[in-house]
């Protein structure tokens, strides 16, 4: 791979303004009082210098000084919207009693750049790859994923609800990315992770990075990894969730959970969907079968004609956590959770998945221990 380069913020801005002409660029933006990912038409829309105050059930954005300009850790919403859209048409056509005329919807995606995403967001894409790029791969996800170049911003700070290291992740990236940006004194370090990244770099004015700049980038990211508190013991939790379905804590948390599905909506790896048939133009032009996001918290998720396998919130909450922090390993050989903390922030009653993990695994609670 080419050596790391250093770019000024001005050069970065010009680069992004050029990228939007050739690509659909998805970047951190400030919309609906939230730092989230959205399509941008220019550098001016990129969310910088905005400080997120987060906690269980709490999200506020304010402007303020800080050492980093990218301060979304990692914000609301996720890249799921672009690789596993909330609504996805599958087949179209018409069917009468004795005739069936169906055609598959062809997946299509413009060349896209996921610009300024966090390492946990990249990890989430790799986790979703296990679900959708199996045998056979999902044609839609595969198309969307292959169309997107990833430009990761390594973390030089962290949010109060972050816990990527607890689940085996990291505030930095080592592989699987196309370009990685790290804020250093005097500019932004740019590291190339793939040939696609290298060619994207051609539009960015930069110079070779100095050793001191490379070292500073590395140590800033390592400092974050060192300071992030360990919320629970991962392997113990994976085991405990398989063997403690009757832990009293499930009743406790069920008394708080509203079943609102916010957690599954903001989670970058939740993938469950339903399918439904909808008419095209009042049915005159046929019908469309589509898939749409669903949530295991919804009442009918596990219902069959004879009954409901998870009739209570206790069972449904237990299933969500057990799947995310344990069953995924058996199904996909990776944990489902990337430690982004969004579910903690966006739960209206502030349920904390790490607290659940600690309780069920029998660890002392309240050890969110900040530095």
């Amino acid at each position: 791979m080419p050596q790391p380069r250093l770019a000024s913020w001005e050069a970065l801005a010009r680069w992004v303004d050029r990228l939007v002409d050739a690509y659909r660029v998805v970047a951190p933006v400030f919309r609906e009082q939230t730092v989230m990912y959205g399509e941008i038409q220019g550098w001016g829309e990129v969310a910088l210098d905005l400080y997120e105050r987060v906690g269980p059930g709490r999200y506020e954005v304010a402007e303020g000084p800080g050492t980093s300009r990218f301060r979304h850790y990692p914000g609301g919403g996720s890249l799921k919207h672009w690789v596993h859209p909330p609504l996805q048409p599958l087949i179209r056509g018409s069917q009468s009693r004795d005739q069936m005329r169906l055609t598959p919807v062809e997946p299509d995606a413009p060349p896209t750049v996921f610009w300024g995403i966090r390492p946990c967001d990249l990890k989430a894409l790799e986790v979703l790859d296990r679900v959708f790029l199996g045998n056979p791969p999902d044609p839609f996800y595969q198309t969307y994923r292959e169309a997107a170049v990833t430009v990761v911003v390594q973390c030089t700070g962290y949010g109060e609800t972050c816990f990527c290291t607890t689940v085996g992740g990291s505030p930095g990236v080592v592989a699987g990315f196309d370009l990685a940006l790290t804020e250093v004194e005097g500019g932004v370090l740019v590291e190339v992770g793939s040939p696609r990244g290298a060619s994207l770099l051609e539009g960015l004015e930069s110079r070779p990075a100095r050793e001191a700049e490379i070292t500073q980038a590395r140590s800033r990211v390592e400092a974050v990894a060192r300071h992030l508190p360990r919320r629970f013991h991962r392997d113990t939790v994976i085991q405990a969730l398989r063997t403690a379905p009757d832990h009293p804590y499930w009743d406790q948390v069920a008394a708080q959970c509203l079943g609102c599905t916010n957690c599954t909506l903001v989670c970058p790896t939740c993938f469950c969907y339903t399918t439904r048939d909808v008419p095209l133009s009042l049915g005159l032009e046929g019908w469309e079968r589509q898939r749409a996001w669903d949530s295991c918290f919804s009442l009918e998720f596990a219902a069959v004609h004879g009954g409901n396998f998870r009739p209570g919130l206790r069972e449904r909450y237990r299933h969500w956590v057990s799947h995310k922090l344990s069953y995924w390993v058996e199904q996909f050989e990776t944990l489902g959770c990337v430690g982004c903390g969004r579910c903690i922030v966006w739960c209206p009653v502030g349920i904390d998945i790490t607290e659940t993990a600690r309780q069920v695994a029998g660890e002392a609670s309240g050890q969110r221990g900040m530095e």
Binding site: P107, A109, R242, Y273, R291, C296, G306, E315, H319, Y327
Partner: protein, 275 residues
């Protein structure tokens, strides 16, 4: 940037050749699957049957006949009600076959014990037929089949033919009898103890309402039938049948992909209510 990719979502046309009633709310469809299929299917596997504009549902195959498929369907929802409203010549959308079916090794067992409740006999019927087609003289099939009332028994027109096979013994039971009912009355599990003779030589296949399966498994274990020779077929809500939509999860197992048939010794810890 678009490419034609292989999609699992396109059903193939399946022509309804015949349809007949089994019980007041259950019908069997004889389907000719006209276009290329990955395979005809194995006992215990299922297809997604559907109509664009209504939806799709997973239905186990209840038989194979002259290159055609049998599906036995209970009409309980919008899709199943439309499916049983079909006539000969109508076309359905079919996706499949999916899932892990019954173990064909069980057909070599000295004693094959099939325990079915209600609609649960439908996915087991192919194993009854397969046994009859190739049983050796020393092999026996015990079919223990129960339903709520006599009117809810499936495949009654076939009982005589099954009974006529020298290796087959058929034991029927109902929860509630009609006048004129001459067989047993009681839940299916009540009759298990007397039907297990050589537990180590017995392979048990179980399908029915989940509560019936749980009790049947407990009884079979008590009678000494090895858990690695005991199999169940589960039913779950399904949308995709390819292990992606998440609806069919049973703890960590995906019923569409790791099942619907499971070997019982591999299900320890999963028989928890609400898992």
């Amino acid at each position: 940037m678009s490419r034609m990719r292989e999609t699992p979502w396109l059903p193939r046309p399946a022509v309804v050749l015949d349809i007949w009633s089994e019980t007041p709310d259950t019908w069997t469809l004889l389907l000719e699957a006209s276009e290329a299929a990955p395979s005809r299917g194995l006992p215990g596997q299922f297809n997604l049957l559907g109509i664009l504009g209504v939806g799709e549902v997973p239905i186990s195959m209840s038989g194979f006949q002259d290159g055609c498929l049998l599906h036995t369907i209970r009409a309980v929802g919008s899709v199943t009600r439309m499916l049983v409203d079909r006539k000969a010549g109508d076309v359905l959308g079919l996706r499949g076959p999916y899932g892990i079916g019954w173990p064909l090794e069980a057909l070599a067992a000295a004693h094959l014990l099939i325990v079915a409740g209600g609609l649960g006999l439908a996915p087991l019927r192919p194993m009854v037929e397969a046994f009859m087609a190739q049983a050796r003289p020393h092999q026996r099939l015990t079919l223990l089949y129960g339903a709520r009332t006599p009117r809810d028994l499936l495949f009654t027109r076939e009982f005589a033919r099954w009974q006529a096979h020298p290796g087959v013994s058929l034991h029927l039971t109902v929860d509630r009898a009609d006048p004129g009912w001459s067989h047993r009355v009681g839940v299916v599990t009540r009759w298990l103890p007397e039907l297990v003779e050589n537990p180590r030589e017995t392979w048990a296949l179980v399908c029915g309402p989940e509560v019936m399966m749980r009790f049947a498994l407990l009884e079979l274990e008590k009678q000494g039938v090895p858990a690695f020779q005991t199999f169940v077929s589960l039913e779950r809500h399904m949308k995709c049948a390819v292990g992606q939509c998440g609806h069919c999860m049973w703890g960590p197992r995906l019923v569409c992909r790791d099942g619907p048939v499971f070997r019982v010794d591999q299900t320890r810890g999963l028989w928890v209510r609400g898992l």
